[in-house]
Symmetry: C2
Subunit: 214 residues, 2 copies
């Protein structure tokens, strides 16, 4: 377990971002057991990541994807831009192929799903800090298989808006488009996802991580 009196001279400084306070605190406790790691910041919203990182200058940031304010991927990009020295390790619930792709494009160094064994987390942090990449091989394979989103920008937007479950008229109003156009976009999305329903199309797109912001 943790050293008693011998503090590490230069421990790895960590920032934790997760919207669930309980798991955030629990992760902090888990990582604090390692004598070469120290948690210097905790935030619960994506838009707090960069300001807090500026204040505390962490070496590695552990970011959840699902967060209010700003999703973890966007936060990762912003963080890379603001503090290039800080590495990013995504820690997320869902192993959506698209998430991994977007995270890597955003400059993340690692991607860990929340059902990996707890003991491996500290090692992942160390690897990332050392400049290595950490990726679940299974997930990487899926990502290659799923490929880039076939949906056009408008189609994703329509699909994302349709997630809440409104009628075509609602969508048309919300997006300032004609109902026919909405139907066309939906039809295209249904075709591209191989679904038979609007609902199915949404499910498929969601599972592949094709419905992220922007």
């Amino acid at each position: 377990m943790s050293g008693l009196g011998d503090e590490q001279p230069n421990p790895i400084r960590l920032l934790l971002a997760d919207d669930q306070a309980l798991v955030r605190g629990a992760l902090a406790a888990l990582l604090a057991l390692e004598e070469d790691l120290t948690v210097v910041a905790e935030v619960g919203r994506g838009d707090e990541v960069v300001p807090e990182a500026r204040r505390t200058a962490p070496d590695v940031a552990l970011l959840d994807v699902e967060m209010p304010g700003l999703d973890g991927i966007a936060a990762a990009a912003a963080l890379r831009a603001a503090l290039p020295a800080c590495r990013v390790l995504m820690v997320t619930t869902f192993g959506r192929p698209g998430y991994l792709r977007r995270a890597m494009e955003a400059g993340a160094s690692g991607f860990v799903v929340k059902d990996t064994p707890a003991r491996q987390l500290a090692d992942a942090v160390r690897r990332v800090h050392a400049g290595l990449r950490v990726v679940d091989p299974t997930l990487a394979a899926e990502t290659l298989a799923a490929g880039v989103s076939p949906l056009t920008e408008r189609e994703t937007e329509v699909l994302r808006t349709a997630r809440s479950g409104g009628t075509v008229a609602d969508l048309a109003g919300a997006l300032h488009l004609s109902e026919g156009t909405i139907r066309n976009h939906l039809s295209a999305a249904i075709g591209k996802t191989g679904a038979r329903n609007r609902a199915e199309a949404i499910r498929v797109a969601e599972q592949n991580g094709w419905l992220l912001g922007e």
Copy 2:
């Protein structure tokens, strides 16, 4: 903070059940910091709860609702039946009103959402162990407001099956009912939930926790 050499004589014995190994391990680390608590078992599936509890005889079981094998509510009921001495504290991601109701009916002593501050968890465990009830007051109010599910058994079943997103014909085939009957049940569910869609009805029912098993 943990005591160094002075182990508590009779620490509270805990069982942890959560399907995400990482948060499970993290929670274990968090709770292990308290000198009057000790984690004696960890499981990742609902149907492993009772066997493992039989083996380790915990005082308090922390159960997640979303788990493979057997959902946390059912696991709680089974655990109460098998080991009445063991108290149950539900720890879950979603504060669905129906979840709380069902958990209480299943004999749980406490209900904590995963975005409560980490420091409060140990206290919740102690309270539950002492025979008290632990419930988020906001959630309790919502539960009262949402009331019991207005859906009849068949309607819930149809709605739950419809979640996967199939056509009426699919549902009819899966449930061995006529398409007309399926449509009737769906229509009734849509009316009762105040939705305008099948999709909306599913969302509402899900948010209220009306779609749980059995």
